[in-house]
Symmetry: C2
């Protein structure tokens, strides 16, 4: 999927909502625990209930990995079930030396490897270019690189001030350098950046550095970020935003009505997004 | 396992060799492909042949993940097969927001989750303290944090010069800040750092910042680092080094004699290490 196609789908659905399938087996409604694959049964119901309001789905791989081999089977069934008009994100935050990142790329992009064919994968930047480039060798597949994350620990390293020769001291922070450097590695048709919604005060500056790239924005909802503020500052001519919500949708109810309540919350977000488009 | 116990085992075996089980099904000797689980059959033979020369084994998770659910089964069997006197490292380079890192910690440390109970896991520092602390909640388990990696891309961000208020400009690089900050999170009984053998010119400086912590050093062998130089500069009173070799041992031969050739290479490294101890 190209950036232009993604923008078209956003305009058609009047939504830039990404739903995070952070499906924790310990939080599932109890009536699902009798299913042969409770995690997939939950995800299927969530997808059925929310697909008209979402343009993307993002399973966080940690939740599946923590269940061992059967978790990977639930992940595969979930990915296969997501409607083909939705953009899919493996939220894996991987990254290793070149030949090893190549294997992670195979895992998530090459269906003959682990049975998975996501549109994109999240990647951690710490190890630099050769840890990222192997993911970009798959035509039409995307890297979503961590830039400025939504958690408190983002202050520890991402916000460190960088001094580069010939530039004034303290003008740049590490995440600025990640944005500047990484955009030389790929076009806006293969590269997005993760920017937390709790970092909305930095979004204007980020938009100056990467005016054309899509941003994946987690942290609206349970983590406290503002959809209005993110949309006002982060949107560009091609929309350029995927805003993720996970827990506020998945666990809107723990009862028999969990899918209906999830649909209600997804619709509420979509309707708010429509007013910003 | 405590740091003192690890040092004792190193002295007993006269080895600080870690063997990286980066088992690529595309590189296995062809006679193993008829086995029901070729990856496990290969690992078992490698472990049998090398256990007397190694103090640690480090499966890189990418290699198993790329095979889907059956890869996780091969990983579990491999971990169960590693002798109990060896230190085990899940080379996963994970890291996410707090509750999600907690799930990655469960995956690798809590056998009731994914059937795995590694002694340690490698973690990427970019997301900061709350992405690392959940791994430290397991008594006796270790975090091995990326500091200065062996690959060319380590120059992109890890070597950026940091400016901190009140300090001279350009004295510190990002990896220094990672080392300084992270050692406040855990004692040398729960925290090691990854320092690539190709970065031996930085090792003296790293030893000044973290005099007491173990360092996991990849990059000797196929990547070109020098065991002599790493040992000379990196060793501390408790030895403080685990030096990893992967491809040079695993793929020393692609024939029927692969295990014997792996043993020869592991013995050669162990004998060189004994001269430095």
């Amino acid at each position: 999927m190209t950036a232009t196609e993604l923008t078209q789908r956003i305009r058609q659905k009047q939504s830039y909502l990404c739903i995070g399938l952070d499906t924790d087996i310990r939080k599932l409604p109890s009536h699902l625990l009798h299913e042969p694959d409770p995690v997939f049964a939950f995800n299927r119901a969530i997808i059925d209930a929310t697909a008209e309001f979402a343009v993307a789905y993002k399973p966080n791989i940690a939740f599946y990995e923590a269940m061992g081999p059967r978790g990977w089977e639930s992940l595969q069934k979930t990915l296969d079930y997501i409607p083909k008009d939705c953009f899919t994100i493996a939220d894996a935050k991987r990254g290793d030396i070149g030949n090893t990142s190549g294997l992670y790329a195979r895992t998530f992009f090459d269906p003959s490897a682990a049975g998975l064919s996501f549109d994109s994968v999240t990647v951690a930047p710490y190890m630099g270019h050769d840890s990222v480039l192997p993911f970009l060798e798959y035509p039409g597949k995307w890297v979503i690189l961590l830039a400025l994350t939504s958690n408190p620990g983002s202050a520890d390293f991402q916000r460190q001030r960088i001094h580069r020769t010939g530039e004034p001291v303290g003008e740049q922070e590490l995440f600025d350098v990640v944005l500047e450097t990484a955009q030389t590695w790929a076009t806006p048709d293969q590269l997005m950046f993760v920017v937390g919604a709790t970092q909305a005060d930095q979004l204007a500056r980020i938009r100056e550095i990467v005016p054309d790239h899509f941003l994946l924005v987690p942290g609206v909802g349970a983590q406290g970020g503002s959809l209005a503020e993110v949309s006002r500052v982060g949107m560009n001519a091609g929309v350029g935003l995927l805003v993720n919500a996970s827990r506020s949708i998945l666990y809107a109810s723990s009862g028999l009505d969990f899918a209906q309540k999830a649909a209600d919350e997804a619709r509420r977000l979509q309707q708010e997004m429509a007013t910003y488009l």
